[in-house]
């Protein structure tokens, strides 16, 4: 008997193997052993909505552009940013970044400075032509946009991206609305604004300047278009109940800013009073300071109730504006010598207003009067609806629109400061986007009411155009602090961007806030915790004892193989961004 034969061919050939034998005994991989049957807890890769994106009124794709910036993929970041917002350079400067208020990193050290990253991206792409991330094929429909503020321009941009022909009607001779006329250059340099407007127009949008609807053209002519978007903003002075406002030397805040910003000069005396506590009042005061005048700002409540942004108030105080609180003007009359005399009632805080703010009431009979060369009233504006046909419904002093921005006339949509929403640039862009998406459905003949009821009306372009990779947009939860595992985060905060020294900034209209350079922005973007959105760190893959988490070759994302997953939950526990949830197997 051949002894070596009894040992089998494998042993005989042991020394002639070119490859090492697989295992020392029998060969067999455990593919058929489905250890997934042991599982009683089921982890699911389920991305959540980052709170910054939830907070952004404009619907920016914040996590995506910040993450792309952090990985140095600037083109990708720029595309994600531009997809949702045609005004990154403007928003990076003048938006009051509610995203950073909701940033979860704030609870760890300091919030990620999203606006500086946005601004830095816009600055680094300043000299490049905008190509929108996507332009859909030409749709055979014409649309009209009335007004060229941020809402109007943004709507025109989104409609153009969706493939529609767009015509913008603007009453003034320049485009841009409030950012053009009302925001001083030290906050928003004109070349940044005009570059972004130019990029939008260059997509092939027809512009009719100096065409005021109701005066130069009848509203009914607009009905030749298939859909109309109204965004004429709020420029009208509300009726002011102060005797003497018609006196020479009394300006409206917005008019004052518009005149200065458009003509670069304005005659003012030495003594200027600014009345109001909003951003316009602060902008007027800081413009005056740059003209060499030290204004006095009068406000009926106290500093903590001022609607202006706190940082702006600090800047104005640092630059030398004088603030007097608890004063309410009740008459303006011409002085016998020169100028005006403003009489104010002293106020005191007593009780609460219906809107929740402390109520200011006159302090019994106490008065104070000021002499002034000019008085600038910055106490708000209202929209002008005189040009609208009466079929378009109003509600209180604003234009009525439904949840997707449609007015009571089917083909007319509206957004921006005309409708009931906070008046700022990101809300304006958000309302324009919502309306543009609704107009797209409308022009295709979809039943908007039905779509809305099903929750199928997208709020962002990425959802509308199906560019978001997550399967069920709109049904996801918002990530919270407890979802994250911060063990993988090192505490560091980068150098905040600086401000121009006060002595330098009051001489001219140079930009006060400096941004981050690109390297600093990339570093800052690295601080983003990517709340709820997988950034392919690979923890779930590395730490899975069963090798059950692998990259799905078709999507390029991690997926759990439930054939082998034993449900230990390490992936869920170690996911730094909280993109994995775990629940009892079979639970509904």
């Amino acid at each position: 008997m051949n002894k070596s034969k009894a040992l089998g061919p494998d042993i005989q050939n042991l020394y002639t193997y070119s490859e090492l034998p697989i295992g020392a005994t029998a060969v067999g991989l455990p593919e058929g052993r489905e250890t997934g049957l042991w599982r009683y807890m089921r982890p699911t890769i389920e991305e959540k909505i980052p709170p910054c994106q939830e907070a952004c009124p404009a619907g920016n794709w914040i996590q995506r552009f910040v993450d792309a910036t952090a990985s140095g993929n600037l083109d990708e970041a720029w595309r994600a940013l531009k997809l949702e917002n045609p005004f990154p350079g403007v928003c990076g400067r003048v938006c009051y970044h509610p995203c950073e208020e909701s940033c979860i990193r704030k609870e760890f050290d300091v919030s990620t400075f999203i606006h500086l990253i946005e601004r830095s991206l816009a600055d680094s792409f300043f000299n490049e032509r905008l190509t929108p991330p996507i332009i859909r094929k030409k749709q055979d429909k014409k649309t009209a946009v009335v007004g060229s503020g941020p809402a109007g321009l943004a709507c025109a941009y989104f409609l153009r991206v969706l493939g529609y022909e767009v015509t913008i009607f603007e009453a003034r001779n320049e485009l841009g609305g409030i950012p053009q006329t009302g925001i001083p250059a030290y906050r928003l340099p004109k070349e940044i604004l005009n570059k972004e407007i130019g990029d939008i127009i260059a997509l092939g949008i027809e512009v009719r300047k100096g065409c005021r609807i109701g005066k130069d053209m009848d509203f009914s002519e607009l009905f030749t278009y298939d859909a109309i978007f109204l965004a004429t903003g709020a420029h009208q002075t509300p009726p002011v109940n102060i005797p003497g406002v018609t006196n020479e030397g009394v300006y409206q805040g917005m008019d004052f800013l518009a005149r200065y910003n458009m003509e670069s000069s304005i005659d003012v005396g030495e003594r200027v009073l600014v009345i109001g506590g909003g951003n316009v009042a602060i902008d007027v005061s800081r413009t005056l300071i740059r003209l060499g005048i030290q204004p006095t700002l009068l406000y009926r409540r106290t500093r903590s109730e001022m609607p202006a942004h706190s940082e702006e108030i600090d800047d104005a105080l640092a630059e030398g504006a004088r603030f007097q609180y608890l004063l309410s003007p009740f008459s303006i009359r011409k002085s016998e010598k020169t100028g005006l005399i403003l009489e104010c009632a002293k106020m005191k805080i007593q009780g609460v207003d219906p809107d929740g703010r402390p109520r200011a009431v006159p302090h019994e009979g106490k008065r104070v009067s000021f002499e002034a060369d000019q008085v600038i009233l910055a106490i708000g504006e209202v929209p002008d609806f005189s040009y609208l046909p009466k079929e378009i419904d109003l509600i209180k002093d604003l234009l009525w629109v439904n949840e997707w921005g449609q007015t009571s006339v089917e083909k007319v949509f509206a957004g921006g400061d005309m409708i009931d929403q906070p008046w700022n640039i990101s809300e304006a862009i958000g309302s324009a986007k919502r309306a543009a998406i609704a107009m797209d459905h409308f022009l295709k003949g979809d039943d908007l009411q039905n779509l809305f009821r099903q929750g199928a009306l997208a709020k962002t372009m990425r959802e509308h155009l199906d560019l978001d990779l997550s399967p069920e947009p709109g049904h996801r939860e918002v990530a919270t602090f407890n979802d994250l595992n911060l063990s993988y985060v090192r505490s560091f905060s980068s150098q905040l961007s600086g401000k121009l020294p006060t002595v330098e900034r009051i001489c001219d209209f140079r930009e006060v806030n400096s941004g981050l350079d690109l390297d600093a922005a990339i570093k800052e973007a690295g601080r983003c915790l990517s709340c709820g959105v997988c950034k392919m760190c690979g923890n779930c893959y590395l730490f899975c004892p069963d090798g059950a988490v692998q990259i799905n070759p078709t999507t390029g994302r991690y997926a759990i193989n439930y054939q082998y997953c034993k449900g230990c939950g390490i992936c869920q526990n170690e996911c730094p961004v909280g993109a994995i949830t775990i629940e009892a197997e079979g639970a509904m």
Binding site: L20, G23, G547
Partner: protein, 295 residues
């Protein structure tokens, strides 16, 4: 910068479907080892938990493996590396073919039963990498105490807590003056793989890696916390990540601020009975150890 998940080979040589407990650090450890060393490696496997997926049919470990008794896994390194040397000399294996030999043993088999064999292989400086899979007790046989079980810890054979201290095996191995000794933790895969690559690419000789491996079953904590406990061991300063490269010691991770040891002890059922005094004595020991490590 590319992450470890991107740089490690995608191919799995330690296959899914193995019978390890849910949350076992051994599963990830073997995946990282096989991904780093690749197919050109031979394992000498002592009787450990890891022998179950590797050596009981069907096999998860897709590399040649020598299943050996509890004590002689280092002798497996000695034999296999000698055989490779001879086959290369005889021309049966190309002389330039790099074959990594590694042994895998638990803390009991490395530190108690196989101590003589381990010390012998280290002294002879046989070519291979030895992994001590330290889960701080004889887990496979039913959680009995080993010399590596920490003081005060419950096991089935020390139901009132172990009175003796833990044997410091990496320092014993460093005293053998072998080319490379390192401590690693499953919570720090980058550090793990970097050290393993260093050991792999070194000149022939005995390399020793001591893997701190929290065992959900034996340490009595939820299986989802394996990595968390391992990380806490490092962050509290109990487990120090260091390497001794040709005699020179380097601490690889110094926690900026060491967390109190209580954070590590509390979640584990095996330390449930500890008094405040016991905890303080462990804390003092850690503080002293770090004071020594400062220089």
């Amino acid at each position: 910068m590319r992450t470890l998940a991107e740089t490690l080979p995608k191919e799995e040589l330690f296959h899914s479907g193995h019978p390890l407990c849910p949350g076992c650090p051994g599963g990830m450890m073997l995946r990282w080892i096989t991904k780093t060393l690749g197919k050109n490696s031979i394992c000498s496997m002592a009787a450990t938990c890891m022998a179950l997926p590797a050596m009981v049919y069907p096999h998860s470990l897709e590399i040649p493996c020598l299943y050996i008794a509890m004590a002689p896994s280092p002798a497996g390194i000695t034999g296999v590396s000698a055989a490779i040397k001879i086959l290369k000399r005889k021309g049966r294996i190309p002389a330039d073919r790099k074959i990594s030999v590694f042994a895998l043993a638990g803390d009991g088999s490395a530190g108690d039963i196989g101590m003589a064999s381990l010390s012998g292989a280290a002294e002879r400086n046989d070519d291979g990498i030895f992994f001590c899979f330290d889960n701080e007790a004889y887990m496979n046989t039913g959680i009995q105490r080993s010399s590596s079980t920490p003081r005060f810890s419950w096991t089935t054979s020390t139901i009132k807590g172990k009175p003796e201290k833990k044997k410091d095996l990496p320092r014993i191995m460093a005293a053998h003056d072998i080319p490379y000794v390192a401590t690693v933790s499953v919570a720090y895969p980058d550090d793990f793989v970097r050290k393993l690559e260093k050991a792999r690419d070194m000149e022939p000789g005995f390399k020793y890696l001591h893997v701190h491996s929290p065992c959900p079953t034996g340490w009595r904590f939820p299986e989802s916390k394996t990595i968390e406990i391992a990380r806490l061991a490092v962050e509290t300063g109990l487990w120090i990540l260091y390497e001794v490269d040709h005699g020179s010691l380097k601490v690889n991770f110094r926690p900026e601020k060491r967390r109190p040891i209580e954070d590590y002890l509390r979640p584990q059922g095996r330390f449930r009975e500890l008094s405040q005094k016991d905890i303080q004595s462990i804390q003092d020991r850690i503080d002293n150890r770090w004071r020594d490590m400062r220089n």
